[in-house]
Symmetry: C2
Subunit: 338 residues, 2 copies
């Protein structure tokens, strides 16, 4: 069996996460038992939710135990199988974690699924046609539930979730305004992803400036917002929200490192008769097939082809992850392992 490099969570961050919180180890891959499959991971997915899991105690994801392999989505190829449903060479997606190889109990629900790479690149099953894509789909269709012609906003607009969100929302006839960090991301948002407008939060770094920029970009107000970040962007959205606006609360990445970020004026939820709803997409597995089918169709039709940021080799995962938390990636952040 192959030797397997793994990255473990070594320490809980004090404030901002650092590379020192992780540890690279090499272990032997155990021989397969009946019902197990050996997967060689081609791609590791890096996602903001992982930062929440590094903390102790209550987060929107369960805490990650110290000394264990960091959890994470993986896409790869079956190298060896002792399960009747999987054959050598099958392309598969699972939650293999930050390691080169995974030994998977293939009967555990959600542990592994085969994917079709004819029209959808393998790596996309970790992004646009995977958890981030379904996250965008859930927030859009189950919480925001927009009507054609309505104006929607999304923060972290060029990330894996944001880029799926705009494709799904444009398909429903909405005006979609992104919020992203820096002119390069904003050009990418409007030039490639299909956003109608994009606001650079680095150029609008406080509530007043963001609120004014939203007013310009959303002359008819905001009917729905998908929140990945939190902080003053959400405060500004509430100031521009129309009556009965909905906010899908998916991430509060701005607050993961330290003190809670307050919401300045929650009375606006009442004034605007809004609905603000948090969700975790893994709690709605029954909707994934429907969501994945729509996302795969958009990719096949060329209407959802977001860029990816790809780091090379498992050892690069911690730095790539810290870069993701700081918004250094453009599009879905992956680690290529092969």
């Amino acid at each position: 069996m192959p030797r397997n490099q793994q990255i473990l969570l070594d320490k809980r961050p004090q404030g901002a996460a650092t590379a020192d919180d992780f540890r690279l180890v090499t272990v032997e891959t155990p021989p397969l038992q009946d019902g197990q499959v050996l997967v060689r991971h081609h791609y590791l997915s890096l996602d903001p939710y992982m930062r929440g899991r590094m903390n102790e105690g209550k987060s929107y994801a369960a805490s990650q135990p110290l000394g264990e392999v960091m959890i994470g989505g993986t896409a790869g190829e079956v190298l060896e199988s002792r399960h009747p449903k999987y054959a050598v060479g099958d392309r598969v997606v699972g939650m293999g974690g930050w390691q080169e190889y995974g030994v998977v109990d293939a009967d555990v629900p959600g542990a592994l699924r085969k994917v079709d790479v004819a029209q959808v690149p393998l790596s996309y099953y970790l992004g646009a046609v995977g958890m981030p894509g379904v996250t965008a789909w859930y927030g859009l269709t189950q919480i925001i539930d927009p009507k054609p012609g309505q104006t929607l906003t999304v923060s972290a607009a060029t990330g894996a979730v944001g880029s799926s969100f705009v494709a799904l929302a444009k398909a429903r006839g909405c005006r979609v305004v992104g919020i992203a960090g820096g002119p390069e991301k904003c050009r990418y948002a409007t030039g490639e992803l299909g956003f109608d407008a994009c606001i650079d939060h680095r150029a609008h770094g406080d509530l007043k400036a963001m609120s004014r920029a939203l007013k310009d970009a959303c002359p008819n107000g905001i009917d729905g917002h998908f929140e990945n970040v939190g902080g003053y962007v959400l405060d500004a959205v509430l100031l521009r929200a129309n009556a009965f606006a909905r906010v899908a609360l998916c991430g509060m990445i701005a607050g993961y490192d330290g003190a809670p970020l307050p919401l300045l004026n929650p009375a606006l939820i009442l004034v605007n008769r809004m609905r603000v709803e948090g969700f975790i997409v893994s709690e709605h597995m029954q909707l994934w097939p429907q969501a994945l089918a729509e996302l795969a169709a958009l990719v096949a039709a060329g209407k959802l082809r977001p860029r990816e940021s790809i780091a090379q080799g498992l050892a690069s995962a911690p730095e790539a992850f810290l870069g993701l938390l700081r918004g250094r990636n453009l599009g879905k952040q992956l680690v290529k392992l092969i």
Copy 2:
């Protein structure tokens, strides 16, 4: 036609509202036109939403123009009618405002309705079987939507909304915990209104103390919350909320006088996958008949018989209203005009 005392909004409050913001005037009642009804008001309803209307600009109710009669719900008796559907002596409820008599265009939708005082006292149509009761019903059934056995909390527990809320929630098999100001109100909440427990916010005046009191009173956590006040009580509720808890946001009275009250840790909405929804009951008129029928049945069955705080005479309305904002009333605050 009778001479009519009125109270006008004279100034917009700077900070806290004062009696000086109002002005008492006496005017002639104009003769009736076809389709109009002259109503003698027996009761004027005082409600927290009126404070929002005294401010300029965006609130959860439209701004009240200066120099006009303060808006408000009224219950009274038809003195004269030039409308075929109303006869002298009919008991009616409407939005007559802070005045002794009202000349009503009875065809305007929502302007006037006849009520049956056989089993429900006239004044209750301004409280338990009126707007406050329907408000409690809407938040409970349309937003919180509880299951039997779940734990619900409500702030301003002994007010007109809170006292209807507990009756409706107990009828659905819930554990209901109130939050009210002072030992007298808490005794009334558990002794008469049917609350399972009541927390005195004066004895638990900060987040830590309130959070601990909620933990004691809600050993299984909080599944639904009806918010009338805002501020640290809402922060504490979020700390004790269960997964998928719902918050019906009905009032933020704590913030009406001045600077916005922040929500300390909105990330908890995500962590707990909560829904927080604001509403204004007058936007859901189609549900009122169903709500009023249930509330009237509870009153007729003796399961909803809240106390009332009754001020005497129109001139007492401003002070009674300011007392309401400070929580000096016990139960529904009314002004008796006759």
